[in-house]
């Protein structure tokens, strides 16, 4: 029966839920809450969530792999920052370790890293990281023909109709961001953080890094947040203060002070799920390796229920109110948006 289905529908039937695991407890939470795959990083700057206290050493990674595998869940490893000559061996070691682990996929962005992996470890499945910044099918053709990638994660810059178009021409499976923090810039092509702090996602796996952050209480009870001394936002007493991510600060443009780039808000595409399946997206990704196990459990559970409901009956699917409420409760600024998928947001 399956063979007679339209290929996109076949893909859709197996829409994969890809979940973040910043540490072992989060990995267990993701696996136990219904993830189809989890993605992890190693404890250094080879991945784009290089934060203190996060990620896996080799021993923990083996343990994580066992836990996930025993329960039929795939493990992906992100080695998705851009090595400079001085650090090259760290990246090749990370790729070698991923190969030793026998992970289901290596998520990488840098052409050097992808080339090394393809050459040394041809058995390793390659996914192009969102940091690879491939936003069109010609770009996907490059990574597919050059490195044999099997899947690509699309940057959060495309509208729904653009995702559909890319999917119709793509030589590889597509994974899209479904939920979590919203990068407003094309991933892999944003240096705002290094311009202000000297560390960027590409170079160090960090955006608006914690070591550059200062929270300063004001005499009136308000708060100022700074990044390497640059004022990112100013809060009135009692106002909810957010982490000073550069693109979410309040700045002055033409005499107005406002969120000139983006409000503190999260991406939530729960209501787009049937469309994503219909256009042929193979996997949806939850952002948040820096989040707590409780967050992971909450978010993954909701998405598991939603995907199951959608796959049981796509025509009748609607994002349930209680799912949306549960996701809003854990979202940045308690607000969510469809982001670039929705044209008016752009």
């Amino acid at each position: 029966m399956m063979a007679s289905l339209h290929p996109q529908l076949q893909q859709g039937l197996s829409m994969e839920l890809v979940c973040p695991a910043g540490n072992y407890p989060s990995l267990k939470a993701a696996v136990d809450s219904g993830a189809d795959a989890v993605y992890i990083g190693f404890k250094d700057d080879t991945n784009a969530r290089h934060f203190a206290g996060l990620n896996f050493n080799d021993k923990k990674a083996f343990k994580a792999l066992d836990y996930a595998r025993d329960r039929g869940v795939k493990v992906f490893v992100a080695v998705n920052t851009y090595p400079q000559p001085q650090g090259w061996e760290r990246w090749t070691k990370a790729v070698d370790l991923a190969a030793d682990l026998g992970v289901d996929a290596l998520i990488a962005a840098d052409m050097g890293v992808l080339g090394y992996a393809a050459e040394r470890h041809p058995e390793l499945g390659l996914h192009l990281s969102v940091q690879g910044s491939a936003t069109n099918y010609e770009s996907l053709k490059f990574y597919h023909s050059e490195f044999g990638i099997r899947r690509a994660v699309l940057p959060r810059v495309l509208s729904m109709s653009q995702v559909r178009h890319v999917a119709s021409q793509s030589p590889v499976e597509l994974e899209v961001f479904a939920f979590g923090s919203l990068c407003i810039m094309a991933e892999g092509r944003c240096y705002l953080s290094s311009y202000v702090t000297d560390q960027s996602p590409n170079t160090c796996g960090a955006c608006s890094p914690a070591n550059a952050v200062r929270w300063e209480e004001q005499p009136n009870g308000g708060l100022e947040t700074r990044l390497n001394n640059v004022l990112i936002d100013r809060y009135e007493p009692g106002e909810n203060a957010g982490y000073p991510t550069l693109c979410k600060g309040r700045f002055r443009v033409e005499g107005n002070t406002f969120h000139a780039l983006e409000e503190p808000t999260s991406l939530n595409t729960l209501e787009l799920l049937p469309q994503l399946q219909e256009v042929g997206v193979s996997a949806v990704k939850i952002e948040g390796r820096q989040r707590s196990p409780a967050y992971v459990e909450q978010v993954v559970s909701v998405w598991r229920q939603a995907i199951d409901a959608m796959q049981a009956n796509p025509a009748e699917y609607a994002a349930k109110h209680e799912w949306m409420a549960a996701l809003d409760a854990v979202s940045e600024g308690s607000q969510t948006t469809l982001g670039a998928y929705s044209r008016p947001w752009q």
Partner: protein, 295 residues
């Protein structure tokens, strides 16, 4: 060492663009990049106009390269890119991997722009194998890293086959988005942007609430608030093996900036008066981009 002029990253009126290139044809720059690299909605000059203008400048003795869009999302943008690729004689600067793919399929030599992520020699080699013959270093990298990349490229045996270019002057392109921040600042949706960026030939300054200049808004592109200027580093760049120094067009004082760089490259200058005085150079010295390292 050659002096190049990058594409105009801001949206200028058609007449201003032609005026700029008429003057530039008389200036001592060796290489001219031109075309729309930021937003496909900007059509004061159409694709054919850019190609025609490029041919005129080439006839004037300049080496001309057509710059292509940095963030390619729509089929219409790929179509424009195909037309540029098929222009017949002028080289292209690829600013998206989609352009790299198209150019290599056509077996055309190309320039890899600063929006292509090359952080090590292995990446550079992958592009070289696909036909890249000149690359512009990503702007967030330092002189030290550049030197190391070129040493590695030498060891890999292709360094002599390519040229290296460094973005040395102007507002640095830092990020690209689906969203248009110029339209947002004017409370307009992107689909009805009314081309407000035409009103900002130097971009829209974005400052902190303490009036510290941080970024420059330029449509879907975010640029550095300050002007980057590596004039004093020209000698060091020569030593490392940089072949071209790139200036990025601003509406002001370009003739003076060209004269300064020309003199520095030719070794005929006497002293430095940076334009503007508050220019920065942090990236070159492995610091935050907005830092001005004392020379």
């Amino acid at each position: 060492m050659k002096l190049s002029m990058g594409p105009v990253l801001f949206f200028w009126q058609r007449e201003a663009v032609y005026q700029f290139y008429r003057e530039l044809a008389e200036q001592p720059v060796d290489v001219i990049y031109l075309g729309e690299a930021v937003c496909s909605k900007r059509r004061e000059l159409k694709t054919q106009d850019w190609i025609d203008l490029g041919r005129e400048l080439a006839a004037d003795g300049k080496q001309v390269v057509l710059s292509s869009l940095a963030l390619i999302e729509a089929e219409s943008e790929l179509k424009t890119l195909r037309r540029l690729c098929d222009n017949g004689d002028l080289w292209l600067e690829a600013n998206d991997m989609g352009a790299v793919q198209m150019l290599s399929e056509r077996k055309l030599p190309f320039v890899s722009g600063s929006a292509i992520n090359v952080y090590n020699a292995r990446s550079l080699q992958a592009l070289y194998r696909r036909g890249m013959r000149r690359w512009v270093m990503p702007v967030e990298l330092s002189g030290e890293t550049l030197a190391a990349i070129l040493t590695d490229a030498q060891a890999l045996g292709f360094a002599d086959q390519i040229e290296t270019e460094v973005f040395s002057y102007g507002h640095l392109p830092l990020a690209y988005s689906a969203r248009c921040f110029s339209a947002r600042a004017r409370n307009l949706p992107k689909d009805n942007c009314q081309f407000v960026c035409l009103e900002y030939p130097q971009g829209m300054p974005l400052a902190s609430q303490e009036d510290q200049s941080v970024f420059t808004i330029n449509g879907i592109q975010t640029m550095s608030g300050q002007v980057y200027n590596l004039l004093p580093e020209v000698d060091e760049m020569k030593r490392i093996g940089v072949d071209l120094v790139r200036l990025s067009p601003r509406p002001e004082a370009m003739a003076e900036v060209i004269a300064q760089y020309r003199a520095r490259i030719d070794g005929t200058d006497d002293g430095i008066a940076a334009i503007p005085a508050d220019a920065v150079n942090g990236y070159w010295y492995k610091s935050a981009g907005l830092v001005n390292t004392q020379r």
